[in-house]
Amino acid sequence: MSEPVIKCEAVYKIFGVNAKKMLEESNGKVDAKTFQRNGCIVGVNNASFEVSKGEMLVVMGLSGSGKSTLLRCISRLTDATGGKIFIEGQDLLQLKNKELIDLRRNKMGMVFQSFALLPHKTVVENIAFPLQVKGINTEDSISKAMDMVKLVGLDGRENYFPRELSGGQQQRVGIARSLAVEPDIWFLDEPFSALDPLIRKEMQDEFLRLQEKLQKTIMFITHDFDEALKLADRIAIMKDGIIEQLDTPANIVLNPATEYVRKFTEEVPREKVLIIEDVMDAPITENLGELKVSKDEIIENVAQKILTQQKNVSVIDSKNKIVGSINPAKIINTVFGGKENI
């Protein structure tokens, strides 16, 4: 596997006057309560992970869990107190201001919860802004921005001001702006949290469609566990600045690492998250029916087909090779049974 695009090694972010000194004295064992007594607040506590090219890592946590702080450390909107962050092998914390600006102008894009559009610029000017900041002339930047307007489906509204748009439309502008410089790395800080549920779902689908097409490396922050499950390749669950568990959605649902994570997974409808591969048995030959299902199918989508069979069903991979089997009883157990049944 090639080099990870984002790599964090023991990243700490501690707010307070003596943060740096206290961190050095603690030898890597940071206890939030001790720090708080000394007037420091721990934002991110020993975060280590990698994100590889084209992968979407969703960081999930409730408010105050440090997820946004972690994102700001990686985009270097704030400087991490300790640890190392590598962006495509470059040590982010060692970058000079000018190199950092270059990095942001060419490699990074970010979407914000409250949209953070410039109120004095129209839709197309907002989108063209990162290009103009780079020094691209007005004509080129505007025409490029118009492509972006079309990409997010806002054609006809390019001359509107942000205040004249709905929340969903504003966030489309935010997304278009963050994509205007064609970044490799895409940061999204709770982009859909401020939107109505219906619009949110629509935007999530739109977002998945975009990602299908663009294949960016993504860090996506959310406080909505369902959203995390729907979008993520991998999920990091944070609490009090610590990453409690970092794994694929299925693994988190099937094997929550801590009590805290389990609370989130309890209410999750498994058939919507798990794929056949997660629950299938070894290949068998007896009582095998005609039906074949792909191992990558989400259970919900094929449950009805399998349940109407009286026989075992073969599970195949993308090359049509049989890799396992599944029977209707297993499906019923998965959906309605307790954890021990899987």
Binding site: R104, S114, V181
Partner: protein
Amino acid sequence: MEFLKKYPKLFQWLFLLIVFFALCFAIEVPETYKFIRGQAEFVKDPNQSAFIFLGKEWRYYAFDVFWRLPPLLGWLPIWINDSLFFLMNDWMPMEFWNEDTQEFKTRPLVLQVTRNLTAFMTFLIELIREILLGGLETIVAFTSWDWIDANPWAELPGLPWTIVAVGSAILAYKLSGKGLALFAGLAMFYISIFGQWKPSMQTLSFILVAAPLSFIFGLSLGIAAFKSKRVEKALYPILLVMQTMPQYAVLVPALVLFGVGDHAAVIITMIVAVPPMILLTLLGLRAVPSEVIEAGRMSGCNNWQLMFKVLIPTARRDILIGVNQVIMVCFSMAVISAFIGAKGLGFNLLLALNQLNIGLALEAGLCISLIAILLDKMSLAWANKQVDYFGNLTFFQKNKNALLFGVTVIIGIMLAYFGSIYFKGGYNYFFEVPHNKGISTADFWNKGVDWIFDTFFVYIKAFNTWLIQDVLQPMRALYLRMPAVATLVLVVGAGYIIGGVRSALVVGGLTLFIAFSPWWDRALVTTYMATFGVIVSCIIGFTVGTLCFQNKHSTNFMLGICDIFQTFPSFVYLIPVMMLFGITDTSVLIAVIVYATIPATRYTIEGLRSVPPSLHDAATMSGVTKFQRLFKIEFPLAFPHMMLGLNQTIVFALFMVIIGAFIGTEDLGQYILKALSDKKGAGIGLTLGICVAFIGLIFDNLIRTWVDQRKKHLGID
């Protein structure tokens, strides 16, 4: 006891008032006391005592210290004066190259710096003035008088008024649209045919230098304060004092430093106009959401781009209010600085007021107000301008305004040329309508004034006498009857009850400064006039504001009226009141009331508007009547905002009271006016200004502290 626990503040207030009145009755008026005129002059007087301090003899009145504190700060104006003169004449003499005599000359540093500064300002003003009106000075600045003598053709010709009028209409059209263009054209036309062209252009050239410079300085200092805590801390006290410092008071020291004339006026205007600009810039930049800043960073802005492309445009609303303030102050100063020899409409206005020629004053005042409104609207439109990227325009369409202006210039010049042939007698009406040849309605107005006086004399006189004898005199006597110690106790007590020890110390210190200055009595008179004005203004403002708020159209209408009235220079308010009431305290007070009613009304409307609509709905659904809603929901919630309006009302009232000295009042303002014509008046003028500023600051501190607590209590921001 239950009651006492429930309303502890109420009892604190009651206790304070009891102490206050007890002190008032306990301390008798000393027999020797009369309202002393000329305390500041320190004449030998049998009532004076003297003591030696720092090797100098200090005199003070030997009366009861409970009644009036001794004027211990009497040395301050003298000290300020001496230091100023020392700075100007003796400090750091240096060798400077003198262009005229072609040799090195020894001159004190400050003198040299201020002279260079004034030379630069003069150059800027003359440049614009001569583009508009024609003249030699600019060319002289680049060459010499000898060269001009040798080349008599070298003179800036000046623009015919037709070109300026149409040009400003085109500019207004480009910035805003037909409405403003029409207004611009008509305003310029009016100014021209009424023969006010020359003074108007002089004033305009003054403004066009002062306003942009104030804007640039204010913006840069605001940015500096935003970036560095240290700069902010250093600037803050100055900003605070300057906000309540009457503009008059700054004139005097500036007179010493920069001399007399337009250049000094520009510098003073900057001193007065920059502080509000700084404050509003800072306020605006602070209010930019952090996510917008982060978005700017992530778009790859460097610091410069972040400031000028993200922060400042996002903070545009507050910065624009700052620009509006700058323009307001500039026009105010355009009149006031006529006292120190600035040319233009202000000078004409003062002259006319002095001669009691109300008609002429009205015309000049109208011209100033028209230009003020025009510039205000144009700057606003400029900031809100939008670029169209998609219109596929031809060269002609893109540059139609420039082309139109070119055509205007040609036609204007041709007209002026024909005019010079057509009009006999040396006046070319197509170039400039001379001052005495324009249409004048002055006679009409003067006759009107006379008519009003003849017809309503009895009533006006009766009203005047009643107001002065039955309201003002007793009120004034009451204020002067307060022993200094009682006043001090009242102010410090109020500070303590409202804001705790800190507030008590601050207001106590400010009051002590005034009490130790030689002008306590005068300060009381100023306060009484301001109080009277503020009370009436607030009653009118709150009532009008509340009534207008009941209807959306009347709300907008009233805010528009406030906007326009705010743009009038403060001196203009004196014209109509002098028309009606002549030279009396009544005139000043009515001007104060009219002027101070503007912020009272505006803040009432804005306060009521800031009540969230959801609360409005909630109240309606609880079945309240209109009156219940007003008194139980809207007033309590809008009250903090309305109190900020009270704050502004006080500042406005104080300013107008001081300006009222021009008509003749017996307060601090009179001395400031006096100091203007005094060679050694700088110290006195500045100290008096500080006294007035401190009166404002005492109220400011109390009100602001209260508002902050109230807002926290109500959970609104």
